[in-house]
């Protein structure tokens, strides 16, 4: 057993101390756990979470109608129709993204429980959110960042995020590529006794529920009805899960939850070579698919992010199309946002064309733009890494080889991922965790909820896999 494996064995013990959740008590059957119990036990009601967030200037962001982009969608739509596109301008949160919602509850909880500091393992906006919230609540903060390849060349976007965390006075631990970021992180938690503000904890996900709730509220107030669809940039699953739960809490029944990720197929997320061949460090399929089909792969034993349970549809879009949309948003709507957060907007542009003019499609986030975090530095960096950039048909894109900017808005499209394949893949991953070929009735119910498949379907699949229901 090497150093890495030794520490990983003590994962649950370290987690218990660092987040105060005894995950063992939620385990029910062979595979199942009491998800709603985990969510309930955070000990803050939805109303209290709204108050926690209001107190620190998080949430209540504007819902903006993108009239010019809607107009463009109608001009290029095959039917001439397109739904009205709205965006929830989450960049208005204190640190510039919806991640403040996620950080706010964890950091508040850390303060309440008397921790001296908080920590998070993230290369994204979440680091800045935790750092910012920690300052407001008077706590110290450490952020562990997967930042460089082995030659110490860093993604401009991640370098900017590290700068922002240091700008808030946090300690930033910058690492080379690899999943052992988690090793360093666990060691740090153990050394400092800080609170683990995990992206995947129930606190984090509960913090996003207000986003879905506000969307429903604002649509009803402004437009007198619920949106037909909410499009959500999907990576680790917390954004989809929290938003969908919020929509449900607001009482929406027909609103479709659509996840969207940048297609990075063929690039390995832990590869030292591929690391700098991609132009998106989040919101992509490299996180989106594994976290959907195996959600409990995060830095907590049981993830509160269960994207498959909440998603009605999952689409992918190319890097070039998202960059194109980032430029369109600035040029037509006067909003410099993203780029990564615009994955859902680029997708919504295509999806809106499937709907009627009087329908509403909501893009549920934007993020701040800055040096390193903009399409110019990302495209320049891509060129430096030998990626070809040209104007043409985005369908020709090959992640890691080229970036194709759509030569005409009518070429912007999404690719639907088969939900059935994703569900089957989830089940395959779940079955791998079984010690013997046997589950309990509670597992059947759990798997049915997790996959949105009927119990009958689950039982049939279990039978096919020679798994007994005891």
């Amino acid at each position: 057993m090497n150093k890495y494996e030794e520490l990983i064995l003590r994962k649950n013990e370290i987690m218990l101390k660092s987040v105060g959740i005894n995950f063992d008590k939620y385990e029910t059957g062979k595979l199942s756990f009491d998800y709603e119990g985990l969510m309930r036990d955070i000990g803050y009601s939805f109303q209290e979470i709204r108050e926690i967030q209001t107190e620190v200037g998080v949430g209540n962001t504007p819902l903006l109608e993108l009239k010019n982009i809607t107009n463009l969608a109608r001009k290029v739509s095959k039917t001439g129709k397109a739904a009205r596109i709205f965006v929830k301008d989450e960049s208005c949160n204190p640190s510039g993204s919806f991640k403040d919602r996620r950080a706010s509850v964890s950091v508040y909880d850390a303060m309440k429980k008397g921790y001296k500091g908080v920590a998070a393992a993230t290369s994204g906006n979440y680091g800045a959110a935790v750092a910012s919230q920690a300052n407001i609540r008077g706590l110290k903060c450490i952020i562990a960042n997967e930042c460089y390849d082995s030659k110490k060349v860093g993604q401009p976007e991640i370098i900017e995020k590290g700068r922002k965390c240091e700008g808030y006075g946090s300690e930033v631990v910058r690492l080379t590529v690899g999943p052992e970021l988690f090793y360093t992180y666990l060691k740090m938690l153990e050394d400092t006794g800080y609170y683990n503000a995990s992206l995947y904890s129930s606190y984090g996900v509960a913090g996003v529920e207000t986003l879905g709730y506000e969307i429903a509220e604002q649509c009803r107030e402004k437009l007198g009805k619920d949106p037909t669809a909410v499009v959500i940039t999907h990576a680790g699953g917390g954004n989809v899960t929290g938003t969908a739960r919020g929509l449900i809490k607001a009482g929406t029944t027909d609103t479709k939850v659509i996840g969207a990720s940048v297609d990075l197929s063929g690039l390995h997320m832990a590869s030292d070579i591929d690391f700098n061949k991609k132009s998106f460090t989040t919101g992509h399929t490299g996180f989106g698919i594994p976290f959907m089909t195996n959600p409990d792969r995060s830095d907590v034993p049981r993830s509160a992010a269960r994207p498959l349970k909440y998603m009605d549809r999952y689409v992918t879009i190319s890097q070039g199309e998202v960059f194109w949309m980032t430029e369109i948003l600035a040029q037509l709507e006067g909003l410099e946002r993203g780029p990564a957060g615009n994955t859902s907007l680029a997708s919504a542009f295509a999806i809106a064309q499937e709907y009627d003019d009087d329908e509403i499609i909501v893009v549920q986030e934007t993020e701040y733009t800055g040096a390193g975090k903009h399409l110019l530095p990302q495209l320049n960096f891509a060129k430096e890494n030998g990626i070809e950039i040209y104007i043409g048909d985005p369908k020709e894109q090959v992640p890691g080889k080229n970036i194709v900017l759509p030569s005409h808005p009518s070429l912007v499209s999404v690719t639907d991922m088969s939900m059935e394949d994703l569900r089957n893949s989830y089940l395959r991953n779940a079955f791998k965790k079984l010690k013997e070929n046997k589950v309990e009735q509670v597992d059947v119910n759990f798997l049915s909820e997790e996959t949105k498949m009927s119990k009958e379907e689950i039982m049939e699949i279990l039978k096919k896999n020679n798994i007994e229901i005891g």
Partner: protein, 96 residues
Amino acid sequence: MIKKGTWVEIEEIVLTTEDRAKNIPEETKKTPLKCWIRGNCLSDCKIGDEVEVETNVGRISKGKVVDVEPGYYHSFGKYVGEIGYIGKQAREIISK
């Protein structure tokens, strides 16, 4: 000579190639997992020395000094000609 108290960046090898996780790509496994931490050095030192630093949160960390007063040099970069058409084309389409 770097004076005690100066803001520096240190490098540490967290996991050697033997200690890395098993399920990672070969090209990554061939390289050690490295980590860089910034803080005020606790003694006089020079580039390449092993030194202790105190970080922003007051944590003490030890490693090899690789940078003095590390800055932020990321930017928006050069003009990218390929995106010049995007706004113009879209404006033209919606004005019709």
